[in-house]
Symmetry: C2
Subunit: 273 residues, 2 copies
């Protein structure tokens, strides 16, 4: 039975719009409601318990919007809050970690996968857990790259200084011999050109945004939640704080029609669920 | 009449410890209670209304600690929330903007002052307002430098890449002919060596942390709030989220004895005051 309710997508900020971009391309007749917690961005430098509490508050707001499924388009939130969200929420939840891990296992030939992300994501070991649940033979080298998000938000996307920061972060992973690199942060696809250049042609890049969108498509098909075929898709964007410079950067880099951005106040207290 | 209650200091995160360092040196027999809102750091990229709301919530918590005065050791919060805090709070409040502006007016010879800070601080125009209230003849060139805080928090303090980012940010200010630069963010004193190097010997650096400490001393003297002469000073640090890597960086760079860090939950709703 087709279901015309919107897909709810959330991220700590605006980086999750890379997932929205992939969803719009793959599922053009779905409605999407995006909620970015820009009043408390970033999650990636905060503790697991704080990220979990924020994720619960934000998903509660999405449930209030009548969504049919929730996409956690934030690696930090997926890394630490997904089990609890799956337990508590009445709608199915898709994170970015497992889809990315699956794609990495499929891509690697030498069974050595690199992962980059925020401090919270890397510290959680969520990719290691997901990868080892999929294959006992995959070795993982992970590195937190906390400067990449600020560089992206500054708009220094095609920039020699950004390239040098990327090289510094990636050099140890390349030296260790990874042949596949997971972009474990939804901001990072905006730097994929520069990251590919730093890695060279023999390393495969796994973009968690695109793989997450595919996982959403599979879930909707499996649970018969797809919008009616004739539906025209749409995108609504709400933020918990006024949009800043990065909204302009993201709009331009993603070529995404974001429309009028709504402002929402965070509902506190969901963490007590 | 001497007053042995603590001085309350707050910042969005840990950067305000540069103000604490200056206070400890200047007022060694005062007790200091420091509260860093690390659960919502940074303020500098958020909107004025969100920063004001957060500042009200945090100062409410400090008042609950029985402090005798509140130091807003955060330029973003000083820039947008100080008037409201002064109106609402029952204890005197000292910010970082006016002390820095006074020092800049005293230092400049060609009456052209540069200011660097976060997006929120620069966008507020608070330094321009403070400087023009002090002297009608000072010209201001301001620039937001959003990458400096993440670079400091990554611990890249003596680093060629950080130096190049600084040069890129400062070049337009140097070209415009400033002879004095205000470090309008309490993190920045941790980069003062590199910033001085980029500016060259003819430009004076104004450190808002040190000037703020002097303003606190003057306030305590004026209102007879100094601790009894024989008091032994102390420092208590509380954060709204668990300390991360940057606490280690700050401890080392500042040589500050922070002791055991306490965790406090944010009290929501103070904004309705």
């Amino acid at each position: 039975m087709p279901d015309s309710r919107p897909i709810g997508v959330f991220d700590s900020g605006i980086g999750g719009l890379t997932v929205v971009k992939a969803l719009r391309e793959l599922l053009p007749n779905e409605k999407i409601f995006y909620l970015g917690d820009t009043a408390r961005v970033p999650y990636g430098s905060k503790s697991a318990s704080t990220v979990e509490r924020y994720s619960l508050e934000i998903t509660e707001m999405l449930v209030g919007e009548g969504v049919k499924t929730i996409v956690v388009a934030c690696n930090s939130a997926s890394a630490v809050a997904l089990p609890k969200l799956e337990r508590i929420l009445s709608v199915p939840v898709v994170g970015v970690i497992l889809p990315g891990a699956k794609a990495a296992v499929a891509a690697t030939r030498n069974r050595h996968v690199g992962v980059i992300g925020t401090r919270a994501t890397i510290k959680s070991g969520a990719y290691e857990t997901a990868l080892s649940s999929l294959s006992s033979q995959v070795r993982v080298t992970a590195r937190a790259c906390p400067l990449l998000v600020p560089l992206i938000e500054e708009g220094w996307l095609n920039d020699e200084l950004t390239d040098r920061v990327i090289v510094r972060y990636l050099e140890p992973l390349i030296r260790e011999g990874i042949d596949t690199l997971v972009l474990g942060c939804t901001h990072y696809p905006l730097l994929s050109g520069a990251i590919e250049h730093a890695l060279g042609p023999t390393t495969t890049l796994v973009d968690s945004a695109r793989n997450c969108a595919t996982a959403v498509q599979e879930l909707l098909d499996r649970q018969q939640l797809r919008a009616p075929a004739g539906n025209s898709g749409s995108l609504e964007v709400a933020l918990t704080d006024a949009p800043d410079n990065f909204m302009r950067v993201a709009r331009e880099a993603l070529q995404l029609d974001v429309g009028e951005v709504q402002l929402r106040e965070v509902l506190h207290g969901a963490a007590k669920l």
